[in-house]
Symmetry: C2
Subunit: 301 residues, 2 copies
């Protein structure tokens, strides 16, 4: 089997070792598993180029510091790990995850400050949270009755796998025959859903929650596109009730881009098709991938 075949389904970096994704295993005793004591980031490769890679690395390094973790490598070394994985896989469209865990508690040594932090990374074919066909049609959303874990407990800007609330929301969406769910905070303001930020177009202005959410790179790209094209946009508190009466609603994620929503809690948004502003921003998002200032090519040779 050639290397390309072996890694074509994906490749993983495990604390120094590279393996095909099917063989990727981590220690059962890693506190990244046993305490979800970790941070991570996800960047994607599109048409053979990383998209806004340095910004993802900036965020990842910032999160690492916030959790008082320490990367075993510098920025160059980290970049090298990611490029190597993508090159091995040969994937031109890929989902690239990097995760740093607190590490393993060895017998007799339970002080987390002394653990050796562990770096994992993996590359798999690009993940569509919502398929392009379903994005064309638009999807259904509910406002979950579950509250998002508050910032006072876990900082959402430090990307984490505390998804218990988001998974509950996802199951609630299934129960109500919807595609996915957005969670609210204790004040009834919209936060985020499982892996995405939310936008609403209200009287010509694009609104997105300001606080209690991950500061998504796709969200940032949309806000910048809006600004460049004179579309008023604002990060602010967004009451859940605003979603119901919005003219357009969409979700943003690295795993899918700009995803139109055509119903919220069973109520139709606009005319029940993806709205004009949403469609335009979705086009601009993919067009941005050709912008040399955002795209870092992978050398596959």
């Amino acid at each position: 089997m050639t290397e390309q075949t072996q890694y074509s389904a994906g490749a993983a970096y495990l604390h120094g070792e590279v393996v095909p994704i099917a063989d990727a295993r981590i220690p059962l005793l890693d506190t990244g598993f046993l305490r979800s004591d970790l941070t991570y980031d996800v960047v994607h490769v599109w048409k053979g180029c990383f998209f806004r890679l340095e910004e993802h690395l900036d965020r990842f390094e910032r999160s690492v510091g916030r959790l008082r973790l320490k990367l075993p490598t510098d920025r160059d070394g980290l970049r090298q790990v990611l490029f190597d994985l993508v090159k091995r896989s040969g994937l031109r469209g890929a989902y690239v995850n990097m995760t740093l865990t607190r590490g393993v508690a060895n017998a007799g040594q339970r002080d987390p400050r002394l653990f050796e932090n562990r770096l994992y990374a993996y590359v798999v074919p690009f993940v569509w949270m919502v398929s392009p066909e379903d994005q064309d049609r638009g999807i259904s959303l509910i406002v979950s009755s579950i509250q998002r874990i508050p910032t006072q407990s876990v900082d959402p800007t430090v990307k984490n796998f505390h998804w218990g609330d988001l998974v509950r929301g996802q199951y609630e969406a299934f129960d109500r025959a919807a595609r996915t769910a957005v969670l609210v905070d204790a004040n009834g303001n919209v936060t985020e859903g499982p892996g995405f930020n939310v936008f609403a177009l209200v009287h010509g202005t694009l609104l997105t929650p300001e606080a209690g959410v991950l500061e998504g790179i796709t969200r940032r790209t949309v806000l910048e596109s809006a600004q460049q094209h004179d579309q008023p946009a604002q990060a602010c508190a967004v009451p859940a009730t605003v979603l119901m009466t919005a003219h357009e609603v969409f979700l943003t994620s690295t795993a899918g881009g700009v995803m139109p929503v055509i119903s919220v809690d069973g109520r139709q948004i606009g005319d029940g098709r993806p709205g004009m502003v949403t469609r335009r921003l979705r086009e601009l998002y993919w067009a941005a991938h050709d912008d040399a200032s955002y795209a870092t090519p992978v050398d596959y040779d």
Copy 2:
């Protein structure tokens, strides 16, 4: 190497396979890791007997149902997995973890309702969160400024690894030169700390938080001991300020039993030594391990 030697540091059951603890690995792509989408329980073995095993299994099965997970085995099969691991290890004092994860998202199949849930279990030598010597002296506690993840987001009675808030509290304790931390809820009431429940003796009555906490089996044992020995005890809201003025404070956990606290936020509790009621309850807790109705012997032959 004999089997006993091979497994003497611990043994793990991994979705059907048994390996020495040092070889225990789980798939990187398990959503138990990538989403902390799982529940678990911990029971201990003392002097060759499981302690209150059926109650731990009751709680685990209840948690599994609450997350809409499904065990791949019935109660007998689960019990068999745990007994087999302890027997292989030969350990007479052991910490026994069982974990059920949502499982792995295979390419093309991202609906969590269709994942094959994965059962893991492991046995290691008994874990002392606080060593018996430190328990004799008593430890220092702080009331953390971090809020415990609220019940509205993640149900604390379904044992989970959403420890981001607890780890922040633990680091805050380190920064303030204390041993560990208890977190409060949005109303300033005490909840729990990293792996333990909290008790305070106030004017002769033992108080422990009623809501927003794991319903610990050690906590239950203490409440039952108190009742049997005419020590007034009550599960109720416990404002953090009450801890400061309590006559005695202690923590309870499967990983250590009844652990005396001698200072809270730097203020001495009582006379700076473990209090009389605390010491008595600690003795009763370990004495309960000889009660045949609580102890299930392991057949090591």
